[in-house]
């Protein structure tokens, strides 16, 4: 069996398993928070859809960009390798005629797809509830797709990072928490080029607005605070490079490393 076919089989198996786990139910429930918030906004701001809808959407994006995709990627990414070791189920996978790299790539893809589905559903519901009054405006759909794309790239980059971390470290979650909610949260507000050492900087650079770009108040909220954006093309390339390089490293480590049981 080729590595690509093996990865597809792993994708199928873990896509199925991933949907069954309690972890997925918990994180899917977490995705209801912005939906509930959107309903509240819709109820209380009914008839004042313009500016407030924009601001509310941006608040939602803070949740998605700086919390939801990070926590999802942290738990799913590190679990690509670590859950097999901790749950001792690794022997079921590595005693099969499939390359170890296919296990990493297949699980990564399965979990990324699962996360994307959760994020997409949550974002879609909350976004269109908030912007229900503007559904006739094509820009609403364009902005939604842009948000979805940004979050998708974020899921890939963060998950690749945490997958790599999970293949290398035994306690990857702790290091991942420090990175995801420490480093990423702080470094993005540093002036100059320092903020480019965070993943979120490139994600924010792809948002459908930039600081001071509109007179309506867009770009003045949390998401754009102190952002010195990178050009969208460079941002996409950097995110793709982060994903590719870290996934490749994760594959190399998983293929060569020996995972000893903790006894």
């Amino acid at each position: 069996m080729t590595a690509a076919k093996a990865a597809r089989q792993v994708f199928g198996f873990f896509g199925f398993l991933g949907r069954r786990t309690g972890k997925t139910r918990v994180f899917a429930a977490l995705g209801l928070i912005p939906v509930a918030l959107a309903i509240l906004v819709r109820v209380f701001l009914h008839g004042r859809a313009g500016l407030m809808a924009d601001v509310s959407t941006e608040i939602l994006m803070v949740f998605f960009l700086q919390f939801y995709i990070v926590i999802l990627a942290l738990f799913y990414g590190t679990s690509v390798a670590a859950e097999e070791v901790e749950n001792r189920t690794l022997s079921y996978l590595i005693t099969r005629p499939i390359p170890k790299t296919s296990i990493v790539l297949g699980k990564f893809a399965a979990y990324a797809a699962l996360m994307f589905a959760m994020v997409g559903l949550s974002l879609g519901l909350s976004y269109f509830i908030i912007n229900a009054a503007r559904l006739g405006d094509p820009e609403v759909y364009g902005t939604f797709l842009r948000y979805l794309g940004v979050l998708g790239l974020g899921i890939l980059a963060y998950t690749a990072f945490f997958t790599f971390l999970g293949t290398v470290l035994k306690r990857a979650i702790i290091v991942g928490l420090v990175f995801g909610f420490g480093w990423e949260n702080v470094i993005q507000y540093f002036p100059g080029s320092t903020q480019r050492f965070s993943v979120v900087h490139y994600l924010k650079s792809l948002l459908p607005y930039t600081p001071g770009s509109t007179p309506t108040g867009r770009g003045v909220a949390l998401l754009l605070f102190r952002l010195e954006p990178t050009s969208p093309v460079v941002a996409v390339l950097v995110l793709a490079a982060i994903t590719g390089v870290l996934l490749a490293l994760a594959c190399v480590v998983f293929r060569t490393k020996e995972y000893l049981p903790e006894e």
């Binding site: 069996m1 076919k5 093996a6 089989q9 792993v10 199928g12 198996f13 199925f16 398993l17 069954r20 786990t21 309690g22 749950n87 001792r88 189920t89 690794l90 022997s91 079921y92 996978l93 590595i94 005693t95 099969r96 005629p97 499939i98 390359p99 170890k100 293929r255 060569t256 020996e258 995972y259 000893l260």
Partner: protein, 308 residues
């Protein structure tokens, strides 16, 4: 006959702890029992020959191919882990089908093989229950099923009978024997000697990471000439029988059981004693009810070797 599984100067350590020490071993077709107490190195050996661990020193090959990072080799190997671990949120049917996907079968083949494996282990009726709801015996059987579902040539079973009730053990022993009767190779580990004894007479004794002895039971007995055999003879007149053997220099000790009808003889020459016993019984007209060898069991051999 060429070796199916071969380990050469195999050593493995975990930090400062030695898991396996310079093991050289060749395993042929049929059932081989790997016997040793907990922590002897059985699981380390199993993990090395299934590519889960990388040797620090030495090599391990299956059919001449090095195991580490050679996934194709697992097309012909079935492995049953010692640990009671599963993907708990799936049914037995989904578990088997999921793992069978990794062999490149068509969906129809996957379903057919999964159904056959479930049938072999007698779990067809419970196939749609979540594994987390399975009893210990069912979990052991589904673990066995995933090891044989792809019809492997070599089956490696790490403590497969652990935790099973007597009936469950009998069923699994029958399954393993059936598998062997199809000309396959089985390596089965256990720390319980009667379990191995029920499966095979070809054993490898392992202790503290070293191979103490290997071969069939008579061969191992030859290795331990100093180990006396106990033979228990229940007869109508055990003392008269004992009197006939007092001058026999091959006999080290004779004791009488409290029942007053049994004499227990310790000898280094078991076969010779049985030959002389037949003559004595016929000559003296002593009625013999039962002859048994209490230590004709691997337990005593193992204990002796470990102490040696």
């Amino acid at each position: 006959m060429s070796a199916v599984i071969a380990a050469t100067n195999l050593s493995k350590w975990y930090g400062n702890v030695l898991g396996l020490n310079d093991v050289t071993l060749e395993l042929e077709e049929g059932i081989t029992g790997l016997l040793g107490p907990n922590g002897a190195g059985k699981s380390t050996f199993m993990k090395l020959i299934t590519g889960q661990l990388k040797p620090n020193i030495g090599t391990v090959t299956i059919r001449g191919r090095k195991v580490w990072n050679d996934p194709e080799i697992f097309r012909g190997i079935g492995f049953c882990t010692e640990q009671d671990v599963f993907y708990e949120d799936v049914t037995g049917w989904e578990f088997l089908k999921g793992l069978l996907r990794f062999y490149g079968y068509t969906p129809a083949e996957i379903a057919e093989r999964a159904a056959r494996a479930l049938d072999i282990v007698g779990l067809t009726e419970d196939k749609d229950r979540l594994i987390r709801g399975y009893s210990r015996g069912m979990r052991q059987r589904i673990k066995f099923a995933q090891a044989v579902a792809h019809d492997p040539e070599i089956l490696i079973l790490d403590e497969p009978l652990s935790g099973l009730d007597p009936l469950g053990k009998r069923k699994l022993i029958r399954l393993i024997r059936d598998f062997k009767s199809q000309g396959r190779t089985v390596l089965v580990s256990s720390h319980v000697l009667p379990e191995i004894e029920a499966l095979t007479s070809r054993i490898v004794l392992i202790h503290q990471g070293k191979i103490l002895a290997q071969g069939d039971i008579p061969f191992i007995r030859e290795l331990i000439e100093k180990h006396p055999h106990q033979i228990s003879v229940r007869s109508s007149d055990p003392r008269a029988l004992a009197a006939r053997f007092v001058g026999d220099t091959s006999i080290q000790k004779m004791t009488f059981d409290p029942d007053g009808r049994t004499v227990v003889v310790e000898t280094h020459q078991r076969d010779g004693f049985f030959g002389r016993l037949t003559g004595v019984v016929l000559e003296a007209g002593i009625e013999v009810d039962e002859i048994s060898s209490p230590d004709d069991n691997l337990q005593s051999v193992f204990e002796y070797l470990v102490e040696k």
